[in-house]
């Protein structure tokens, strides 16, 4: 699915499947969700991303029906879901602990929800077999949950929550218990299943890479608020705040005073005795306003000589080198003590690396490489 083909959030006519309208949820004096509004559309793979305690799990539990909002309305397909108990919602949840019933076989775990719906026996068998096939669990059907591996348990939990063909599937840190390699494989599996079934997925995660990989849109949360909800590329390339820029991936933040230049260009005065940095911005800043230039390490070029045509070039000294195999990250200390990270692909063998510790180097980047942020 291509991003330009599927973007209902761009269409003002589109009806959202889920709508949070000024939802607040408090536990005693603690506000878990603070006046939050959000639309999630059908067939979306929506990720809620944030540090622990930011309210993402509370949002999910409100969708499942285990918590009710203190104020505000949550609509599912245009209906207020507050009075609907969890067992009557067309919403299913995949629990972080998987919550597989230990006394039932894999087959019975998957059939559990269907049996509650009094589905005819033949249809039920067909549906369970289809779910087993989808999650490649056919040969484990007769086993008990404690007789299979963690990855298989995760797939059983997914199959069980998909069996009732819910309008909305909630995934609470679904891959948290898996090791890295298995997690990456499963992410693609999840995306395939989401596409095959056409179900709307809402995933809660604290792993930004996971959110970026699987989601059509990512909402970055902090203290019960959504700071930014957008497609992964826009969250990464044009964060709306230092918090988002810093939360997603690695970033260099340079603080300074903005001064409008020609067009949408700004000059950022960042330290005494250095020429201002040039940065383009679609947002406008007043003269002298304090702002932050956020620039990703991979957009900073490192060289021995001052590049001729670079919009921005600063001198520094290599402080540290992080060798990651395919990439190297150089930590470069600028004259004012600020450390900037620059990342380059290791296209040459390490023995032929151009720079080493303590080498004087030039860092350069274009006017459009970074983003100017007010806060």
């Amino acid at each position: 699915m291509d991003a330009s083909a599927f973007a209902p959030w761009e269409d003002p006519q589109a009806q959202p499947l889920i709508r949070f309208k000024n939802v607040t949820k408090s536990f005693g004096t603690f506000t878990a969700i603070d006046d939050l509004s959000l639309d999630i559309f059908e067939k979306e793979f929506f990720a809620l991303l944030g540090p622990s305690g930011c309210g993402k799990t509370t949002m999910m539990r409100m969708l499942a029906g285990f918590e009710t909002p203190t104020s505000g309305v949550i609509e599912l397909a245009g209906q207020d879901i507050a009075p609907v108990p969890p067992n009557q919602r067309a919403v299913n949840m995949m629990f972080q602990s998987y919550a597989l019933f230990p006394h039932l076989s894999i087959w019975d775990n998957i059939a559990f929800g269907l049996k509650r719906d009094k589905m005819p026996k033949l249809d039920l068998q067909e549906r369970v077999e289809a779910m087993l096939k989808l999650t490649r669990l056919e040969q484990f059907a007769r086993r008990k949950p404690h007789q299979i591996s963690g990855g298989q348990r995760q797939r059983v939990a997914l199959a069980r929550s998909l069996a009732k063909a819910p309008k909305l599937l909630l995934l609470d840190e679904p891959l948290g218990a898996l090791d890295k390699k298995l997690r990456q494989d499963t992410q693609f599996e999840l995306m395939d299943i989401q596409e095959t079934t056409g179900t709307t997925f809402v995933i809660v995660t604290h792993d930004q890479e996971e959110a970026m990989t699987v989601a059509s849109r990512v909402a970055v949360m902090d203290h019960g608020r959504i700071i930014q909800a957008d497609t992964p590329d826009r969250i990464y390339e044009s964060p709306n705040s230092v918090y988002v820029a810093d939360f997603i991936g690695d970033v260099n933040i340079i603080q300074g005073q903005a001064n409008p230049g020609e067009g949408d260009g700004y000059r950022l005065f960042w330290t005494e005795g250095q020429p201002p940095l040039i940065a383009n911005s679609t947002k406008s800043f007043s003269a002298g306003q304090t702002c932050h230039l956020a620039i990703r390490p991979e957009k900073v070029t490192i060289s021995a000589e001052r590049p001729e045509d670079a919009a921005n070039a600063v001198r520094g000294k290599v402080l540290d080198i992080a060798y990651l195999g395919n990439l190297s990250t150089y930590h470069v200390e600028l004259p004012n003590g600020l450390v900037i990270k620059a990342q380059t692909a290791n296209t040459r063998r390490i023995s032929r690396r151009s720079f080493t510790w303590e080498d004087p180097v030039w860092l350069s980047w274009t006017a459009t490489a970074g983003v100017l942020l007010a806060n």
Binding site: A64, G65, N87, P102
Partner: protein
């Protein structure tokens, strides 16, 4: 060598405190009663050598076991004990399960206190607690005084020295043995399983029936055996709280032994009681073993 000693300790314990006394009881049950000290015959006289041993074994017979089948007092007492033990086990379960459930669902900071309250009665002598029940249940006891005072009854109820009092006594005494294993099972139960069941379409009651109850089954079975086994041979409660109509094998055994001074018949009664108890004990062991295998 070290392993041998580790294994030897429990076996030595069993040998000294179970097997040897059991062989003695078994031997007495095969003997004949006699007005002497000890009140049975034959006794083993090793001073006569081989002939003495032969004479000793020749004196043993199954007469007492035959007697148990001839007098209907005994099998009635066994049946009545089984019935009382079964009923009181069910009663204890019906009372104990909700208590254990409430404990497991209570806030974390309360649980230690509640557990303490369940165990607290053990700090007082069992006998004193049974005597206290006599004070509560008698004609002029606290219960009758209270019921008369609030006006539910006009004349005092006769509870003491009936089977009702025996049930009350057994349920009261063995309730902690029911609560603790069930509580342990419910405490281990992951709360998200109940949420998952509700999420998949169960009502609260359905979720309890399909998830909570099956998962607490090992605790329920353990609790039932822990109540049933001692209740079957119970002697103190029926003799103090029960009446002349209360027929329990523990009481019969006591009377044979102390009132009739018929040690051989009393021993035979004990041997048969043990054989009856072996069945639930074996079942209990098997349940425990299955449980352990499932946990691995």
């Amino acid at each position: 060598m070290r392993r041998f000693f580790l294994i030897a300790v429990p076996y030595a314990w069993l040998l000294v405190l179970f097997l040897i006394p059991f062989v003695i009881v078994l031997k007495i049950s095969l003997s004949d009663t006699e007005l002497a000290i000890p009140p049975y015959t034959p006794t083993l006289d090793l001073s006569q050598g081989w002939a003495g041993i032969r004479e000793f074994f020749a004196g043993l017979d199954l007469e007492n076991f035959v007697w148990l089948t001839e007098d209907d007092l005994y099998w009635k007492a066994y049946l009545s004990s089984l019935w009382i033990a079964t009923c009181s086990t069910i009663l204890t379960l019906l009372i104990g399960f909700p208590i254990a459930y409430g404990m497991a669902r209570s806030p974390e900071q309360w649980r230690a206190t509640l557990m303490m309250l369940v165990i607290l009665p053990f700090w007082t002598s069992f006998l004193i607690r049974v005597y206290a029940w006599m004070g509560i249940l008698s004609q002029e006891g606290f219960l009758n005084q209270f019921l008369l005072w609030i006006g539910i009854i006009d004349s005092p109820l006769t509870i003491l020295n009936t089977n009702t009092a025996v049930y009350i006594g057994i349920v009261y005494t063995y309730l902690p043995f029911m609560i603790l294993p069930i509580y342990a099972a419910l405490d281990r139960l992951d709360g998200s399983l109940i949420e998952a069941a509700e999420d998949l379409g169960c009502s609260r009651l359905m979720a309890f029936w399909l998830v909570t109850l099956p998962l607490s089954r090992p605790g329920i079975i353990a609790g039932c055996f822990l109540v049933f086994i001692p209740a079957l041979g119970e002697f103190v409660i029926p003799s103090l709280l029960g009446g002349s109509g209360t027929l329990m094998i523990g009481k019969v055994l006591w009377e044979e032994f102390f009132s009739n001074r018929d040690w051989p018949v009393a021993s035979a009664v004990a041997v048969v009681l043990l054989l009856i108890l072996v069945i639930p004990i074996v079942l209990f062991q098997r349940n425990q073993q299955k449980q352990q295998e499932a946990d691995q």
